[in-house]
Amino acid sequence: MSKSVRKPVPARAPILPLLLLEKLLSAAMSRGAEFAEVYVERSTTTAVSLDEGKVRSAQVGAVTGVGVRAIRGAQVGYAHSDDLDEAALLRTAQTAALIAEGNRDPGPVSLSRTPLPTYYQVHQPLAAVEVARKVELVREADAAARAHDRRIRQVTAGYADQTREILVANTLGHLAEDRQDLCRLGVSCVAFGKGGERRTGFYGGGGRVDFRFYEDFSPAQVGRESARQAIATLGAVPAPAGPQTVVLAPGWSGILLHEAVGHGLEADFIRKGTSLFAGKLGEKVASELVTVIDDGTVAGGRGSLNVDDEGNPGERKVLIEKGVLKGYLYDHLNAKLTGQRSTGSGRRQSFRHAPMPRMTNTYLAPGDQTAAEIVGGVHKGLYCRQFGGGQVDISNGNFVFEISEAYLIEQGEITRPVKGAMLIGVGPEALKNVSAIGSDASFDPGLGTCGKDGQSVPVGVGLPTVRIDDVTVGGTGA
């Protein structure tokens, strides 16, 4: 354990008093752990929802809690409490300490604040913005969606934000604090077509941004885009099944990287040898056109982190450079066990969860072609404009992602809409088949949530227009 000289206590008081934090760390070390950490979280969540033209509900939740972790070798003890009195917290620290089986006086721990970078600055906490203004967002979105086309018959709109203050203190003497605001507006539409046909649209966005964000990213525009998607796919024909050339529109299509390579580069899977990317550093794992970056420093990004949930600053990491595997995503534990350093990738859903390596904002570096050139070069294929969710099996690399709006490409032209399409592939094979990359790099609008081992965290993804050859499209058409 390293010791640091105590610095003068800064003006703003932390969520828990410094002395109590130090006491909890000592308690967590009391049975012989090598490292301990206290994570304190205070969050306020606000949500409004609109359904069938009416503001259905407005809600606010306030949750505060503490998670204590003790580590010895590869062994982790984790306990948490939403009771903040000293006795309850000490019990929690002692429970985490049980991972080690000894009895040792760990000596005192003294904490000093770690200075942090600033990748988002939300001036007025979102929790402090009047609920009436949030209600206005969903009303405007609903009205715009309904006005777009008479066939838009169902609209649900939801806005949610969170103002989350975190504090991480550990036995290395680090104390880091951050306020992480996050908001998201989402609008779903159902278009009613002929003969009982139903098509859906979904759009929205947000990030770690001021509420003013919605002055430019207007709710009306969100409502219209959601409605457009539902209307555009009315009368769609079944997607052709089997291998074909696909072109992905920029933005949310970055989910391809997230599923096809991102998860497989998380250091827990690498350390355990259960990812197909384990042991492949320096090897070619993608087409040389492909450079993949995970970047926690994107201004206002949904996945951005001034500091991760282990107190380490957010970073920009090049994972794949010109097709060659360059690095993995490390949290504290997996870095320590493999002699690496943390890449600021230790994240957790809340104080109720132990951290693990996760992505932040994952994107593909742009190429030099225009979208029109890329589409124009495809004789026969599928143009994928909007996307649903995805999933990956880390061991064999199989990934899927759903295409919610897609069109046939015939003789270099985008033609008829198709329905029910899904892409399936094996990560490295799909990336080796990337044959063109556009210059139109773009992030998703701020909608993504990633799930792993039962924990959800907000993430961003990004992709320019990309052409991939020989991808299997799941569908029912010929």
Binding site: R56, V63, V76, A79, R198, T200, T274, G474
Partner: protein, 458 residues
């Protein structure tokens, strides 16, 4: 290892209903015309091992309460974890103030009168409450060891865990809802990775039960997990084609879970479910019966009342192929002119919404082996990727892993394919229902065969 810390916090459970009643009183004082509080306290602990060593030990108690208020027909909701007098007062004031922001809706009414009540309690096993902390470590180690021994190609593990979970909840409302319920669960989960010729295949097998004595043995869980991972080695794509699909019980349950959204009374009322227009019509063959039953003996989701205090009940959703009923909570039932089926689900941090309880496709008479042997060409689906069913459009498309069948025999493992079809067509094409139903999850089904769907591959 010991676990004394958690026991100390259990005594306070007696106050959960008090917390709810206090909140209802505070809400009335703050100006709510109707209010309902729902509180939970949970205790959970788990041990994860890898290569024989403890990798993670987790233990915690959690609590929380949510307050729904209606003032002049407007709905407000607030939740929090602070049970102090001051904390509850803040919560009540917040919920009442939030109600001003939402729209007036005459269907905003809490259930009352004869709707409220208690069905049978779900199983609560004191053996889980008093579980020997060493049991979890022993069980996890035994499962992992059995997996290693079952197949020598299993050399790595994502992890193997054992754990327990206790939950108590209480509800009180100004309309007379009042009740407490408790549940216990124990589980073992093993996720080995098999390796051969540079290919990795993972599989996971787990068992969760409300009574400790009913849990599958850890050795059995480990062995099954290992066999499931190893049998996938050498998996490859098949050609794009139409063929039979056999869903193993776990995958059949996944298919059924996808369908469950289509009988959600809210989507039906909004004409946004592909089944909305099919009430009273045949949507599947005679041998398909689906029942939602919150009173089911041994069910993982069995409970005395739903998330808004409505007595638990049994609802036949599909009766011998005919669509008989949709599922409702009180609000949607009011809008749709139906009765609540006791299907409001919630946690303390969410408003009640419609969800299933024990949603079970009833078993048939044929053995799984017999169904397989009677299949000329098809895919036995053993794992899936993606979410699959779109109940608005009625389309189904999902990534699948499995085993290829020719002339009733398994010939090779398959990966990187999708199974697609229209949900209505797939329902009507269910041509075999197995007798191997096991209530391993709250949504459960036996082996199912779909005569034909599209498999997309090479």
């Amino acid at each position: 290892m010991q676990a004394q810390a958690a026991a100390a916090t259990q005594k306070r459970d007696a106050t959960l209903l008090d917390v709810c009643e206090q909140l209802v009183a505070l809400a009335r004082k703050a100006g709510a015309s109707e209010s309902e509080a729902y509180a939970e306290r949970t205790r959970e602990s788990s041990v994860k091992v890898r290569e024989g060593n403890v990798e993670e030990l987790q233990q915690a108690t959690s609590k929380g309460v949510g307050l729904r208020v209606i003032t002049a027909g407007r709905l407000g909701f607030a939740y929090g974890t602070d049970f102090s007098k001051e904390g509850l007062r803040t919560l009540a004031a917040r919920a009442v103030s939030l109600a001003k922001s939402s729209a007036k809706d005459r269907f905003n009414e809490l259930p009352r009168g004869s709707q409220l009540g208690h069905g049978p309690d779900g199983a609560y096993d004191p053996a889980i409450e008093d579980i020997d902390p060493a049991w979890k470590l022993r069980a996890a180690r035994a499962a992992e060891a059995a997996a290693s021994q079952a197949d020598r190609r299993v050399r790595k593990f994502e992890g193997t865990s054992a754990g327990d979970f206790l939950a108590r909840s209480a509800i009180a409302s100004s309309r007379g809802a009042s009740g407490e319920s408790k549940a216990s669960y124990a589980y073992v989960v093993c996720s080995p990775v098999a390796e051969a010729d540079g290919q990795l295949q993972t599989a996971s097998w787990s068992d969760t039960r409300r009574r400790l004595a009913e849990l599958q043995s850890p050795e059995e869980i480990g062995r099954i997990a290992a066999q499931r991972a190893a049998r996938m080695l050498g998996a490859r794509k098949v050609k794009t084609q139409k063929a039979a699909i056999i869903f193993e019980p776990e995958q059949a349950a996944g298919f059924l879970a996808g369908l469950s959204g289509a009988v959600n009374g809210d989507l039906v009322h909004k004409k946004s479910s592909f089944l909305a227009r099919h009430l009273g019509k045949r949507i599947a063959p005679e041998h398909v019966t689906v029942i939602d039953d919150a009173t089911l003996e041994r069910g993982l989701a069995t409970r005395p009342f739903d998330g808004e205090g409505v007595a638990s009940q049994r609802t036949v959703v599909i009766d011998r192929g005919v669509l008989k009923s949709f599922l409702y909570d009180a609000y949607t039932a009011g809008k749709a002119g139906a009765r609540s089926t006791g299907n409001a689900v919630r946690g303390w941090s969410s408003l009640p919404h419609i969800g299933t309880s024990n949603f079970v496709l009833q078993p048939g008479e044929r053995g799984a082996g017999e169904i397989l042997r009677g299949t000329r060409r098809g895919l036995l689906v053993t794992a899936m990727l993606g979410s699959g069913a779109n109940v608005v459009t009625g389309e189904y498309s999902r990534g699948a892993n499995g085993l290829w069948i020719e002339d009733g025999q398994i010939v090779h493992p398959v990966q990187e394919v999708t199974v697609s079809g229209s949900l209505l067509d797939m329902l009507q094409a269910i041509d075999a229902v197995g007798n191997d139903l096991d209530l391993r999850s709250s949504t459960a089904a036996p082996t199912l065969r779909i005569a034909e769907a599209v498999i997309s591959g090479s």
